[in-house]
Amino acid sequence: MTTSPSEKHSLSVSQRLATLAAAAFLGFGSVLGVGFYQNSRSEAALEKAIVAENGMRTAEEMRLASIELMLIAMDTIIDREERKIQPERAVQIKASLELLDAKTPDLEALARLLGKSGRLANFGSDLAEVRKAIEVDLKELVESGAPAGDFAPIDDAIDGGGERMNALLTELTEAAANLASKRTEEARAESRNALILQAVVGLLVMGSMLALIWFHGNALRRGILGLRDSMQRIHSGDLTSAVAALDRGDEIGEMARSVDLFRTAAMEKRSIEQKAAASRDEMEHERERQAAEREQAVARIKAAVDALGRALNQLAEGNLAVAIREPFEEGLDTLRRDFNNTVERLSHVLSNVKENVVSIDSNGRQMRSAADDLARRTERQAASLEQTSAALEEITVTVKTATNRAEEASRMVGETRINAEESGRIVSEAISAMARIEGASNEIGKIINVIDEIAFQTNLLALNAGVEAARAGEAGKGFAVVAQEVRELAQRAAGAAKDIKALVSRSGNEVETGVKLVQATGDALGRIGANVVRINEHMSSIVQAAREQSTGLNEINAAVSQLDQMTQQNAAMVEQTNAASHTLAQDAEKLSELLSQFRNGQVSETAMRAAAPAEAAPSIKTSPARSNTQAGASIAAAAKPVALRRPDTAQASTRPAPSPAKALMGKLAGAFGNTSVSVPSVTASGDNWEEF
C-alpha cells in the first residue's frame, strides 16, 4: 500500500475488515472462556457433594456392621450352653471385623473432610477392644463353658465399645449428609452465576461489533460516493474541479489519484491539439514564400546558363581567350570562375602538349636511327651464328673421330691385358723350371760328395800302402811308387770334386737369383695387368663421354640452327619496327601541325577546314560535352588518312635496305606510290638478309 506525504494516515479496507474479524474472534473467545470456567467450577462443587455422600454411605455401612457384630456377640452369649461359637456366626464376625478394618481409612478421610478428626482418636482403641472381647475372650469363655457371671464384663465391654462406635458413626453419618446437601446447593448457585455471566459477555460483544461495523461502513461509503461523483463530473467534461478523496491513504485514495491522473492527461491532450493547429497554418505561409523565391532563382540560373552557353560556343570555335566577365548570382558564380579557370588550364595544357609533340618528334627520329642500327647488328649476329654452326659441325666430326680412336684404343688395351695374363703364366712356369734346376743341382752336390768321400778313402788307402811299403824297406820301393801315384790320383779326384762342388753351389746361387728376378717380373706383370684393366675402364669412360659429347654437340647444333632461324625472324621484326618508327616520326609531325591550329586561342585556317563537320554545331545550344564529342570525331576524321597510310609504309619498310637511314628514307619516299609490294614472309626476309 503506497503512501504519499499528503494523504491522511487512515486504516485501509483490509485493515478495517481485519479489526472486525478480530473483534468477533475476541468476543466468541471470551464467551467460550467464561462458559468453560463456570462449568469447571460447578463440576468441582458437584464432585465435593459426591465425596460427602460417599462418606456418609461408608459411615452408615460401618455403623450397621458394628451393630451386627454386637448382636452376634449377644446371641453367642445367650447360646453359651452350646459351648462353642456357631461357624456361621464366626464367619459373620470375621466379615464384620474385616469390613470395619477396611473402611477405617475412608472413615478417617471423611472425618478430616468434616473437620472432626479429633473424634476418631478413640475409635481405633474401641475397635480393638471389641475385637479382643469378641474374638479372644468370648471364644475362650464359650468354649470353656464359663459361668454366666464371667460373661458380664465381656458383655459390658462389648456393649460399651459398640455404643461408642455406634454413636460416633451415627454422628459422622449425619454430618456427612449435611455436608452433601450443602455442597449440592453450592453447585446449583454456581451454574446460575455462569449463565448470567455468559449472557452479559455475549451482549457486550454484540454491541461492540455493531459499533465497529457502523464506523467502518460509514467511512468506506463516504469515500466511494465522493469518487463516483468526481468520475461522473470528468465524464461530463468538467476537468477543472478537483477529484474528491485524494488525500485518503487507503485503496479508495489510490483510485482517486488514478482518476486525477486521467483528468490531467485529458487536459494536456487538449492543449497539444490546439498547438498543432497553429503550426499547420504557419507552414502554409512558409511554403508560399519559398515558391516565390524559387521562381526568382530559376530566372537567374537561366541567365547564367545562357552566358555559359555563349562562352562554350566560342571555345568550341577554338577561341581559347574567351572569358565570362559579368558575375553570376551568388550560388552560380563559382561555375563562372570554374569555366574561366578551365579555359585557362586548357590553354596551358595545349601549349604543354605542343612542347611534348616537339619532344616526341625528336625522340621518334632517334628511334628511327636506333632501329636502323639494330637491323645492322641483327644481320651481323645472323652471320656469326652461321659461322658458329659450321664450326660446330667440324667439332662434331672431330669428336666422332676421337670416339672411334678411343674405342680402338680400348680394344688394344683389352688385348694387352690378355697378353699380360699370358706372360704371368709363363713367368710362373719359368719359376717352376728354376726350382727343378735347383733340385738337379742338389743331386749333383750329393754325387760330388760321394766322389769326394771315395777320393778321401782312396787317399787313406794309398797312405797306408805307402806306410806298408816303407816298412817293407827295399822290397817295397816299387810298391811305394805305385802307392804314391794312387795318392796323387786320389788327390786330383778330390780337387776336381771340390771344384765341381764350388761350381754347383755357384750355379745354385745363380738359380736362386734367377728365381727372385722371375718372381719380380711376375709381380710387375701382374701390376701391369691391373693397370691395364684400369686403363681399360678409363678408356671405356672416355668412349662413353665422347659419345655423350657427340649427342650434346648434336643438340647444340640443333639449338644453334634454331637460334639462327629466330635471329632471322628477329631481323624481319626489326625491319617492321624500323618502318613503325618511321611512321611514328611522321605522325608526330602531323600532330604538331594539328596543334598549331590552337595557337593563341585563334582558330587557324587549316584547323577550320579539318573541323568542317563541326562547324554546324556551335549555333546549336547544347551541353559542352556534346560539342566536345563532335570535335573529337572531327579530329579522328582528320587523323584517319595517316592511319590508313600506315600499312603501306610498314610494307615498304620491310624491303631490304642496303644502308642506314638515308637510303631507307629514299626508298620510303619511293614506296608510297608502290602498292604492288607483297607482304614478305619470314623466309623472304631471310633471303633479304642473305643479300644484305
Binding site: 778321401f456 787317399n459 787313406l460 797312405l463 797306408n464 806306410v467 816303407a470 795318392r487
Partner: protein, 154 residues
C-alpha cells in the same frame, strides 16, 4: 834311432800332417796304420788331450789330440780328420790330426836341430826342423811326447 839320423847319406821316410796352421811330421817307421775319424769312448780322470778309446780290430787303444797335447787349442774332429795309429815303444797310440798332408823322403842332412834358446824341456818334443821350399816342418819326437803320458797312464 838317433844314430840312424846322424848317418850321413841316409834317407828318412816321413809323414807330414797339419795341426791348425802349423805342419808337423813323424817317422813313417813309427806308424802302423792311418785311418779315418771314428767316434771315441771317453775315459774318466784323464788329461784333456786324451780323448778316449777306440776299438782297432779287437785291440783297445787310446786316442790323443795332438793339437791339445802340443799346447794349441782342441781339434774339432770331422770326416776329413785322421787318426794315425803309432807304435811307440811297443804300445799302440792313436794320434788325432786335422789332415794328413804328405808322405815324403828326406835326407838326414835336411833335418836341422831346433834352436838352442828354447829350454831343454820344450826342445825334447822336437827332433829337428825340416825346411822345405814353402814351409818349415817340425819333426816330432814321439818318445818324449807320448812316452811319459803312457807311463803315467800305465
Amino acid at each position: 834311432m838317433s844314430n840312424a839320423i846322424k848317418q850321413s847319406g841316409a834317407y828318412l821316410e816321413i809323414v807330414s800332417f797339419h795341426l791348425g796352421d802349423q805342419e808337423f811330421c813323424i817317422d813313417i817307421m813309427a806308424i802302423r796304420e792311418i785311418r779315418g775319424w771314428a767316434p771315441v769312448t771317453p775315459m774318466p780322470h784323464t788329461p784333456p788331450y786324451v780323448l778316449g778309446l777306440i776299438n782297432l780290430r779287437g785291440a783297445v787303444i787310446p786316442v790323443i789330440d795332438m793339437a791339445c797335447r802340443l799346447g794349441m787349442k782342441m781339434t774339432e774332429p770331422s770326416e776329413r780328420s785322421a787318426i794315425i795309429v803309432t807304435d811307440i815303444n811297443g804300445k799302440l797310440v792313436g794320434l788325432l790330426v786335422e789332415q794328413v798332408s804328405d808322405m815324403m823322403t828326406i835326407r838326414s842332412e835336411d833335418l836341422q836341430p831346433a834352436p838352442e834358446i828354447i829350454p831343454e824341456a820344450q826342445r825334447a818334443f822336437c827332433r829337428g826342423i825340416v825346411a822345405l821350399e814353402k814351409s818349415m816342418v817340425c819333426f816330432l819326437n814321439l818318445d818324449t811326447v807320448i812316452a811319459d803320458e803312457l807311463a803315467q797312464a800305465a
